[in-house]
């Protein structure tokens, strides 16, 4: 098991290197610079001297290959550089924001799992029933609904009409502020997970071993608990892992809508201002997060299903 885990972790490294290279290349060729973004609102007339001074100070006057070597060298020492905008270390900025993003992602995932898995199970156990139909219609609606619109709808109903919850912001970090953004973010994974759970459980229910278990005289509950649930779990864990890993990246829109202080909104502002070190650092953190979660999932389902480890 240890060797399996180490192998999985080592596989992350080349992926990170490729991603870092891609991010660097993309932001080296896109038009616009930090210096020009300072004057992009037309508020101040451009100051060529200041722009030149800034480019020199930030090392943007150096050739691309030289900048790349510096970037890789710093990265190897876990130094993500200094923000052009704030003139503070990127790691410090990400550290200020990542916890709010994690809080949102975890809450959204808990909401999705708690609702979707039981619903998917029940729908599969009673295919064609009203519950099954309602669950699947709900799942399709959840998948097709734009998150931005859903967020506005929830704000309108729960904040404006019912006045139960605040419509925006982090507040003092209380649960009340977390509920609406978490539900908005959690609806898509909920819908996907409900469909996957239903399909996975249905697949297992049609297996020979389930028929054998029934033939041996086990009750429905025993069959579901001992055979169906355990076997369906591999697919569910994989789906949860994939969804959870990608949630922070998806939260960008939700964070902006609800004025949630996570790294998504930091990323949006940094892209607009061409604060390249922050953009690179933030994307890298999101990618690493995705890889770590998936590696953790690999390890978990190797524990759940020993056949995977042997393969």
């Amino acid at each position: 098991m240890l060797r399996f885990t180490i192998r999985r972790i080592l596989q992350i490294i080349p992926t990170i290197v490729v991603v870092a290279l891609l991010i660097f290349v993309i932001f080296s060729v896109v038009p616009g610079s930090f210096a020009s973004s300072l004057f992009s609102d037309g508020k101040t007339a451009a100051d060529p001297q200041l722009m030149a001074r800034l480019n020199e100070q930030l090392g943007l006057d150096k050739p691309v290959h030289q900048r790349f070597l510096t970037y890789v060298g710093d990265l190897a020492q876990l130094d993500l550089g200094t923000s052009f905008r704030t003139r503070r270390p990127v790691l410090e900025l990400i550290n200020e924001r990542i916890w709010a993003s994690l809080q949102l992602a975890v809450a959204a995932m808990i909401f999705a799992v708690v609702v979707a898995v039981p619903l998917g199970f029940l729908a599969a156990l009673r295919p064609g029933s009203i519950l099954d139909t309602v669950t699947m219609v709900g799942a399709v609606s959840g998948l097709s609904m734009p998150q931005f619109w859903l967020g506005l709808l929830l704000m309108y109903v729960f904040a404006l009409q019912l006045n139960w919850l605040p419509s925006f912001g982090y507040g003092d970090g209380s649960l009340r502020n977390l509920i609406l953004p978490a539900i908005t973010l959690g609806v898509t994974p909920l819908a996907l997970l409900a469909r996957t759970t239903r399909a996975g459980v249905l697949d297992v229910l049609n297996g020979d071993f389930v028929r054998t278990a029934h033939a041996k005289g086990l009750s429905e509950a025993q069959v579901v608990r001992r055979h169906v649930a355990r076997n369906a779990l591999v697919l569910i864990i994989t789906t949860v892992g994939l969804l959870f890993g990608s949630l922070i990246g998806q939260a960008v829109v939700i964070e902006k809508l609800f004025a949630w202080p996570g790294i998504g909104s930091l990323l949006v502002d940094s892209v607009a201002m061409r604060d390249i070190p922050v953009v690179q650092g933030t994307i890298l953190v999101i990618v690493v997060w995705f890889l770590v979660i998936n590696t953790a999932v690999d390890v978990i389902y190797a524990l759940v299903d020993p056949r995977i480890k042997q393969e």
């Binding site: 896109v30 038009p31 616009g32 610079s33 930090f34 020009s36 973004s37 300072l38 004057f39 992009s40 609102d41 037309g42 508020k43 101040t44 007339a45 451009a46 100051d47 060529p48 001297q49 200041l50 722009m51 001074r53 800034l54 100070q57 905008r85 704030t86 003139r87 503070r88 900025l93 200020e96 924001r97 709010a100 967020g151 506005l152 704000m155 309108y156 904040a159 404006l160 006045n163 605040p166 419509s167 925006f168 912001g169 982090y170 964070e255 902006k256 809508l257 609800f258 004025a259 949630w260 202080p261 996570g262 909104s265 930091l266 949006v268 502002d269 607009a272 201002m273 061409r274």
Partner: protein
């Protein structure tokens, strides 16, 4: 147009008038929204030229001058008086004796000298350097030829002599937030970015990155009885629709409106009476690059101005949240010529001018545009069929905002659409058409007209404000005739405010920048604000 402007002025007067009629209430919390981004880049305002950071400055800092929104002019802020030499170059400021920084230090001339040196230090590459550059000796200091700025001389703790390079009105430059005065006794300058200390009516209390900044009343602020509020929460809310819900839900006290919301609020009985409007000092325009042969002919540029139905676009697309432009200088500028009519929508005249210029078969050009709904790709798409009717083919070239700035300042465009600040100083605004101004600085259309240069130079050297204004008015009219741009509109900024809020002012520089020390909330405010 002017009827609407008058209405706006009446509305503004209404806000102020109400504030005057009632005794301001002390205490309470004001939930202000910062609408231009999801974060504050830095709390060190000298390092940032962005409006987003200026929201903090208005509360925490003060500059030597301030903007008087009612009289539309810069006024002394940190000095009680000033003596000006006959040649208009030497200003002797008598500093306030009652101004104190939040760390307890009293304001002295040393703080101003320290701040201006910090702003113009080339190692810092701060955006305020160009404003402070009006002081004699800043160039030498920035070039490392001198350790001090020759034009700054401390007479005593409360008297500062400033020598300027030319006889300009220093108020326009030294009122800028990027020239805010910092205390000279802070050892670690890095703390300015995390725990700012200023002379303003509120002291910094807390920054929740990506969420809000909280400031609280500074009891030793120099204006007696002010500020009225105990606390201001400056909340980051960049999404228009989310701000709309929060405003309607009474969670925030003010909200800057976009065109769509403006229209909706005007039609809502509960909201329409609490809109503060002002013609801001921004001119939206399409700049023509003379690198394109057709644009070298004035008749072609005039033809484009005649071919576009500007009032229709302002009405339909911008939802009347703008005033059709009749020149470069905006309505709120003292040099604006109210008698100068905008280009009339006249496609026949446009065709005639194109024929005279030898372009009866038309030509095509590309417009570099950002996605901005009021001065970006949607506007280019709207003018496209209008220009097609006179034979001109327009191709939009969509870019991001920062890429637009780069394309324009590197002269890498055929035409561009942008919103440019054209005030409050008309002299600075017209400088952008002076042939000696670099293209990359702000003469984006490489405009050159000896007649204009004469008028501008005469205005620059004129000491009599009325005569200077008249010269600038003539210069502005000349630019309008030459049409180096399509004069689109002047922004109408609109702020919705809750009925319990008083003391807001129609700030033509940027409506979202409000004097927090003058704002107060009455007894009808929700309990959470009182």
């Amino acid at each position: 147009m002017f009827r609407r402007f008058t209405l706006a002025a009446v509305l503004c007067a209404g806000v102020s008038g109400l504030a005057l009629a009632e005794e301001p209430r002390q205490g309470g919390t004001f939930n202000f929204t910062a609408p231009y981004g999801s974060s504050f880049a830095t709390l060190d305002i000298q390092a940032s030229p962005n409006t987003q950071e200026e929201f903090i400055t208005q509360a925490i800092h003060r500059s030597l001058y301030a903007w008087d929104s009612i009289n539309n002019a810069p006024v002394l802020e940190l000095a009680t008086g000033v003596d000006v030499s006959d040649d208009g170059l030497v200003y002797t400021y008598h500093l306030r004796k009652d101004a104190k920084f939040h760390n307890g230090k009293a304001l002295t001339a040393d703080d101003i000298i320290y701040s201006y040196k910090r702003v113009s230090d080339p190692k810092n590459a701060f955006p305020g350097a160009s404003y402070v550059a009006i002081i004699k000796g800043v160039d030498d200091f920035a070039a490392g030829k001198s350790e001090d700025i020759a034009g700054l001389k401390k007479i005593d703790d409360n008297t500062l002599e400033v020598t300027f390079s030319s006889p300009v009105n220093p108020g326009f430059s030294l009122m800028q937030n990027t020239t805010a005065i910092y205390p000279s006794n802070v050892e670690d300058e890095a703390t300015f970015a995390t725990a700012p200390v200023g002379l303003g009516p509120f002291r910094f209390r807390e920054h929740v990155p990506g969420s809000q900044i909280v400031v609280e009343k500074f009891d030793e602020f120099y204006e007696e009885g002010k500020p009225y509020l105990d606390r201001v929460n400056i909340i980051l809310m960049s999404e228009d629709s989310a701000r709309d819900v929060a405003f309607r839900n009474k969670e925030i006290d003010v909200s800057i409106l976009g065109p769509t919301q403006y229209q909706a609020y005007q039609q809502d009985d509960a909201l329409k009476d609490h809109l503060l409007e002002v013609a801001e000092v921004y001119t939206r325009n399409i700049g023509f690059n003379p690198k394109v042969e057709a644009f070298r002919d004035k008749r072609v540029r005039q033809a484009i101005n005649h071919a576009i139905n500007t009032p229709l676009i302002v009405e339909r697309l911008v939802k009347n949240k703008a005033y059709p432009a009749s020149g470069w200088l905006p309505i709120s500028s003292p040099a604006f010529d109210k008698d100068k009519a905008p280009y009339a929508f006249d496609p026949d005249k446009a065709k005639e001018l194109l024929k005279e210029a030898g372009y009866e078969n038309g030509f095509s050009f590309e417009v570099t545009a950002s996605p901005n709904e009021s001065w970006g790709v949607p506007i280019v798409e709207a003018i496209l069929p209008m220009l097609q009717k006179v034979g001109i083919t327009v191709k939009p070239k969509p870019v991001e905002s920062s890429a637009l700035g780069e394309a324009v300042t590197t002269n890498n465009f055929e035409a561009f659409i942008w919103s440019n600040q054209t005030g409050p100083d008309p002299l600075a605004a017209m400088r952008c058409y002076w042939s000696k101004t670099a293209q990359s600085a702000c003469n984006y259309t490489s405009y050159s007209n000896p007649e204009f240069d004469k008028l501008y130079e005469a205005a620059r050297d004129e000491r009599d404000p009325a005569k200077q204004t008249d010269l600038l008015r003539q210069a502005n009219n000349l630019v309008q005739d030459d049409a180096p741009v399509w004069f689109f509109n002047y922004n109408k900024a609109v702020m919705a405010y809750q009925p319990w809020v008083h003391g807001l002012v129609p700030n033509a520089n940027e409506l979202a920048l409000q004097p927090y020390e003058d704002i107060w909330i009455d007894d009808t405010a929700p309990a959470s604000r009182k």
